[in-house]
Point group: D2
Amino acid sequence: MINVGIVGCGYWGPNLIRAFTEVSDARVIAICDISADHLAAMHRRYPALRTTTNFDDLLAAPDLDAIVIATPVATHFDFAMAALRSHRHVLVEKPMASSSDDAARLVDEAARQRLTLMVDHPFIYSSAVRKIGELIRAGDLGDLYYYDSVRINLGRFQSDVNVLWDLAAHDLSILDYLIGTPPARISATGARHLEDTAHNIAYLTLFYDSGLLAHAHVNWLAPLKVRRTLIGGSRRMIVYDELEPSEKVKIYDSGAAPSANDDVSREMRIGYRTGDMWAPRLEVKDALETAAAHFIACIAAGTPPLSGGESGLRVVRQLEAATQSLYADGRPVPIVAEQRK
Amino acid sequence: MINVGIVGCGYWGPNLIRAFTEVSDARVIAICDISADHLAAMHRRYPALRTTTNFDDLLAAPDLDAIVIATPVATHFDFAMAALRSHRHVLVEKPMASSSDDAARLVDEAARQRLTLMVDHPFIYSSAVRKIGELIRAGDLGDLYYYDSVRINLGRFQSDVNVLWDLAAHDLSILDYLIGTPPARISATGARHLEDTAHNIAYLTLFYDSGLLAHAHVNWLAPLKVRRTLIGGSRRMIVYDELEPSEKVKIYDSGAAPSANDDVSREMRIGYRTGDMWAPRLEVKDALETAAAHFIACIAAGTPPLSGGESGLRVVRQLEAATQSLYADGRPVPIVAEQRK
Amino acid sequence: MINVGIVGCGYWGPNLIRAFTEVSDARVIAICDISADHLAAMHRRYPALRTTTNFDDLLAAPDLDAIVIATPVATHFDFAMAALRSHRHVLVEKPMASSSDDAARLVDEAARQRLTLMVDHPFIYSSAVRKIGELIRAGDLGDLYYYDSVRINLGRFQSDVNVLWDLAAHDLSILDYLIGTPPARISATGARHLEDTAHNIAYLTLFYDSGLLAHAHVNWLAPLKVRRTLIGGSRRMIVYDELEPSEKVKIYDSGAAPSANDDVSREMRIGYRTGDMWAPRLEVKDALETAAAHFIACIAAGTPPLSGGESGLRVVRQLEAATQSLYADGRPVPIVAEQRK
Amino acid sequence: MINVGIVGCGYWGPNLIRAFTEVSDARVIAICDISADHLAAMHRRYPALRTTTNFDDLLAAPDLDAIVIATPVATHFDFAMAALRSHRHVLVEKPMASSSDDAARLVDEAARQRLTLMVDHPFIYSSAVRKIGELIRAGDLGDLYYYDSVRINLGRFQSDVNVLWDLAAHDLSILDYLIGTPPARISATGARHLEDTAHNIAYLTLFYDSGLLAHAHVNWLAPLKVRRTLIGGSRRMIVYDELEPSEKVKIYDSGAAPSANDDVSREMRIGYRTGDMWAPRLEVKDALETAAAHFIACIAAGTPPLSGGESGLRVVRQLEAATQSLYADGRPVPIVAEQRK
């Protein structure tokens, strides 16, 4: 049995508490938040939980094996580093840290201590993204042409990060999982429409050496909620709609392929294939529970998590480059290859 | 009665023939195409039409008042210039020409000859875009924050232009109509996935001095057809879905506005207003018929068209800048102010 | 070449004119309507058409091989009988006639004269319904459990028939095509909400001896347009949405089947199978053009049409029974087997 | 503080436990189920709960004020009567009982004991149905023409009741809330497709003396989940889609009204008004929590619940009549007026 403490019970924390409650080898025993109201609401629901407004109480608890961090991004590094130094396994909400330097230091500390450091990249634990990964790895899509994601809603403005760090972080983590290698360079554009806030709308283009083009549209100020990703390949195309209740992943046989006949005009040479559509059955499993169970299993077995610290670091590096481009109205910024020992 | 000749009966030409057939003060009397099959198909439907494969026959026809050009973009300039020089009014399919130099020469020639020169920017003649224009001009949206358009489908690859010139031209013409002033600079990214073809997917960001951010996602290789535009303002937001049968324009009272209370944290200071949604009744009128009737009315009255040559020229200038940025992976390109006499 | 005359150019007639214009072995040469405005509008579009307000002119025309009837239902019998007696092949809009007696007399007259008599049951010529027919006949759905159709919109109130004769006629013709045998009995309920009009909303249940239950909801006074049919079988289920642009027919592997284990409670014994969904590619062909071409081909070959007079008669019989039940608040009415020589 | 015990922790019980956990004046202190697994799963989530497999333990508990019954329908009467006789307030899941006789006896017992007896008709506590009720009462819809509900999915087959008692019970309770008076007669059709099970698909028509026609389509064996209700009135129409995330209730100004001009043909006399659509903001509140809080408030104040025993009895009467008609293939069955003292 792994005993878990959770810091941050505002927006995402309660979801993590619920998820760990369903994991059979884990037990949430203590929670921490600066708001007594948040703690009281959680205690009402889970009367057995110990609560505190002081993070040091978690660090001092003799029975805590792991600490889950669901606080604002700016505080991730301090909480995570303190937890690692007190020899606790750590699961930190995405994005991992405010800077790649901080993220790298956490990776190093966890390695030094031989502790499990995992980032909560929730979508890579969903049945839909898992299925898409299978299809890509099996070559069902052919060469990957594009990944196009729209992730918008009337959202919580966050004070300490722009919309890329909040929403595009999901796409960067999904791409990290699906593609394996980082993009070569990034261009981002966007705007800040309310005084004293960060960019609330942004468009992100990732250029991969393979020819793949990835794009994310993220927006905190949209009149409707959209979570839709198109993935185009030379053989098949996917529409992945996270909000679709039953057919989240649709696979289209339709595509375009150059025809063999060189005599006809170029317009004619594009042969449109339009074929069947297929929506595979997806396992009904809560992604967050799967992630929580994976964290616990990695601790127990000492194996590296699918979304370990290195993955979190790669995502933060790309967010830094994207933000740099954002302030330069789209000027492309190269992603420097990782050179760490 | 204005007598009209049409050159180009492939993809869009038949729609223009049909549209002019419904205009009471116009009569299509002659059509021209290099394909005898296209001409035969049209003649079957409209047995009274004169047909020719030689454009000079149109120029030589003594009874033709106006020539409509629905041929590939690369040929627009030659056909349009020849028509103007033979003293015919001209309606040319969008985009107006392959270069801003060519477009400017057409504008000058039409001015010199006091002829009507109109570009077929069809959406600005639709009830939906007209209604949006009314709402914006009435201040119902407040300050304009963003315009976000997705215009994708499994489309005709065109041999002589990239996807921006085909699809983003619509958004540039809609923005030209809605906003009035051109953007200050443009960033575009994209990719070409099939050999020997132009860019088939592109993302376009337009930066306006007012703070408005406009974006278009255009794609010839998408598994599904989308024609959806979000327009965000400080007071209201619009979802305009061209494919929605009955409620093309939805107006949302919801928005975010900074609250007056400075004491609370920044996250708290964003007050989310979420209110009613409203879908106004739109007049059921075919946009292309409206455009055709407008062209005929402008000829008759000698008044300048809503989408005259100057508007076509502004769109072409922006397409040139966008293509330049496209080849530079998003590097922003300024839009030079027009300085023509 | 078959020369066609069309009577009725109001609502549906123009669609039939357009459809026959695209059939290579047919030529529409004359049209008839009581409204000079309707005729003028058609003549503007098709200047070669002869027009008349007198149906006798069609009967007297020496060059007419076939007459197409697109007039109000109450007039179908007179026009069709006169056309058959003047030895013209006849295509009549659905429903075939106002009573089964009239319908039977038309069938007899056509047989006596060895003429082609076809009813325009347009949906059975659509790619979607054809594909569904193939799947059913191949046994892909298993035993048929139910057919459930919703066919509603803000529609044209018709003065001479209730909503069943207008809209449910489509479902009865589709079922006649898919199932082959008529239902054993019919129950219908409905209401008339406006003075001096027929029933404007109705619900129709058809009981088949096989155990199949079919139902149609038809409504002229609905706020939105729906054309959706669910077909449930023991092995697969279909969702057929006529308004869906690209995926009109979706096939679900999911279903329920009694499990083998008798020990568990009955609720447990229903094993829910939930599997993949599949949307087959459908040929893009206009159903009305297919129907028009089929009519011409049947005349040329002397073969019986898919929706010949007998099919039209079966549909009218069922509409009569349904109307009888409608006035008795759902009391079931048996369908008498046809006993005609 | 009202102390609550809950019997039945299978399908719906856990939702009720969660709902009462959020009500500030209530405390769930004990639960009962025949399955030790169900009890263990609940205890894991709520470690403070007392659990038992013996209902008598609830009856014997000295600290229980109210008992909530979420067991199969066939057991409702026995549990509810025992609870009332042990002087506990009762909330029973819908439908209230297996027969109107049983339902009436519960109503009488609660009256005799002056206890709160409430039926969990959850939708009448939702913001959407509340808003619809307001609109109807304010006359915004004009005369009510029809109520048409589709309530289908791939559902749990229940062993002891047919699909009407499971799903149509919702529509009957919504209508009881919206209309106030019961229908005059009922016609129902349906089928049973799996051996040893009850009817799994049914169509229900309710005839009201006012001219209102109500209909429900309920189906446990549908390939997709639909929860959509259309409500048509002489002035406005409503589309209520329970599964729509943000715009559950849409109000259409469009309708048809007889025009004043008697000279034109009847078809012409129907003037189609097509106007704006409007989706009011709905309060975001969980319907089940609202129902739970209402139950507690009624106990505290001694006031009758919105969905008290009489309402539950009316719904059961109509379910009985509907089932009778179901076995007679749609023959209409009158609803006998209540004559109880």
